[in-house]
Amino acid sequence: MKYALLICTPVGGAELSPAQIADDPRFTSYIEEVRSRDLVKGGARLRPASDATTVRVQGDEVLLTDGPFIESKEYIAGIDFIEVADLDEAISLASRHPAALAGGSVEVRPVWE
């Protein structure tokens, strides 16, 4: 069985660089543990919500919003990792996702690399 762990961080909080994380013992001990026990099967650190774009589809129209999904009634039902050339290509894929077509939304969040 696999789980997706969604790591939440306060809005407006400091955005740590990968170097800062590597130097922080709280992170290193956690990473060490999940690695040694082989708990994490896949995942990624997301860029902050301020870099997100949300895609909705209404009829034929693709609606883009700057920022994360905003309706608190929505919840995250899954994650796909994709590798594409740029945001337009990601949006194009997201706008064909069944969730976006069925009245939900897809948040396109760049991943730390």
């Binding site: 301020s50 700057d66 760049p110």
Partner: protein, 408 residues
């Protein structure tokens, strides 16, 4: 022309160009702006000494590029090193072929729909028009720090979210062009709607919007809506100086001094509109320009062809079925077919309730009632409009009308 004048003129003409090319070459928005600024500073010195070059734009772009290469060479290791390599292998002077595309790329990137609308506007003014952060902050009445943050965040999002620096592919072009035209129209309205005082930045916004609309129309000659937007802005701008009197009071179209309109702008706007309409692909900007042209080409207020205007609003409603457009149509129908016809359309909007907090809904009803001589009812509607109006110039105007209705 002195060197100072030449640099000022080049800034107007070439700023967006230089920044756009430098962004393509370096991929770094901040570096591009820095080096463009540096090139203009150098120009002042060098042009004073050596005279103005034959092609100021090419001189500025080359100088900025050299500066960027110096900066990148001095950078130590990492990603920037890679960029340097990319830049050194780039063709040396891609000036004449790519420059048009560069600016178009920049407009479309600044107006990408994944950016917040405020960020799109600010970024367009900064990178394409060369306005400073304090100037943009002043124009939009926000603190300078807020605007600076907005610009930083927008550039960060372009980089981190992977917003492509390009003109979108054909299938995205129609919807993206609408967004670009919308940003330019918004810029113009920010400048145009300001009725208070002689704030230079706000007037500047009208000029910048017209300049950007001109650039866009030149870059997209096959897009009639781009021509339509430029025509619309020119036709509005032609009346700008007569919309407010010496005391800062609003002057209605009916009472404006038509001899004081900018007739060169009217002529240019009308000619552009004709060119656009010949393409046979009407759109909301062309229709709005046609409405503006009906007003600006009428010899007097009485000569205004309201039947034509009402018909054009009927067309506009099909493209933009908003309550505000329908309210404008009600005014035109009231003038063309009689106040009762207009009042019936206003009553329809009142029943629907979508504009219930909008002062121009009761103000429109008040005006139609006043024109039909029903002054008591008109006074009540003006009172309602005054409860909702916030702009001082508009409030003064409504109070004046209310006074007239109370003591005819």
């Amino acid at each position: 022309m002195t060197a100072e004048e030449a640099v000022a003129a080049a800034f107007q003409e070439e700023w967006g160009q230089v920044v756009a090319t430098l962004i393509r070459v370096t991929g770094d928005w901040d570096l591009a702006e820095e080096c463009a600024q540096d090139a203009f500073a150098q120009a002042l010195d060098r042009w004073r000494r050596d005279g103005v070059p034959r092609r100021p734009g090419a001189w500025l772009t080359t100088t900025a590029r050299h500066r960027a290469m110096d900066v990148l060479r001095r950078e130590a290791v990492g990603a920037r090193k890679l960029r340097e390599a990319a830049m050194l292998t780039a063709p040396e002077e891609p000036y004449d072929d790519d420059v048009q595309d560069d600016r178009l790329r920049l407009i479309f990137t600044c107006c990408h729909p994944a950016l917040h609308i405020e960020a799109r506007v600010a970024l367009t003014l900064r990178t394409l028009a060369g306005l400073t952060t304090p100037e943009i902050a002043r124009a939009f009445l926000v603190p300078e720090a807020t605007m600076a943050q907005r610009l930083v965040r927008a550039k960060k999002k372009i980089r981190n979210a992977g917003i492509p620096y390009r003109v979108p592919p054909a299938h995205l072009l129609p919807e993206r062009t609408t967004g670009v035209l919308g940003v330019i129209y918004l810029l113009f309205n920010e400048g145009y709607a300001a009725t208070s005082g002689a704030d230079l930045v706000r007037r500047n916004l009208c000029a910048e919007a017209i300049r950007l609309a001109r650039v866009l129309a030149g870059l997209m000659p096959d897009e009639p809506e781009a021509l339509g937007l430029l025509a619309l802005l020119l036709l509005h701008d032609a009346r700008r100086e007569t919309r407010v009197d010496a005391n800062g009071e609003l002057v209605t179209l009916e009472d404006q001094d038509r001899t004081a309109w900018d007739h060169a702008e009217v002529d240019e706007g009308t000619a552009l509109l004709e060119t656009a309409l010949r393409r046979g692909r009407p759109g909301p900007y062309q229709i709005q320009a046609a409405i503006a042209a009906c007003h600006t080409t009428a010899a007097s207020a009485e000569d205004t062809d309201w039947a034509d205007i009402a018909a054009l609003y009927g067309e506009l409603v099909r493209f933009v079925p908003s309550a505000v457009v329908r309210l404008n149509r009600a005014v035109a129908v009231g003038m063309a077919e009689g106040t009762d016809a207009g009042l019936a359309l206003v009553a329809e909007l009142e029943r629907e309730g979508e504009l219930s907090g909008y002062h121009l809904l009761p103000a429109t009803r008040a005006d139609l009632l006043r024109r039909s001589g029903r002054t008591t009812e008109a006074a009540q509607a003006y009172e309602r409009a005054l409860e909702l109006a916030e702009n001082d110039a508009e409030r003064h105007f409504l109070e004046k009308r209310l006074g007239e209705c109370r003591s005819p």
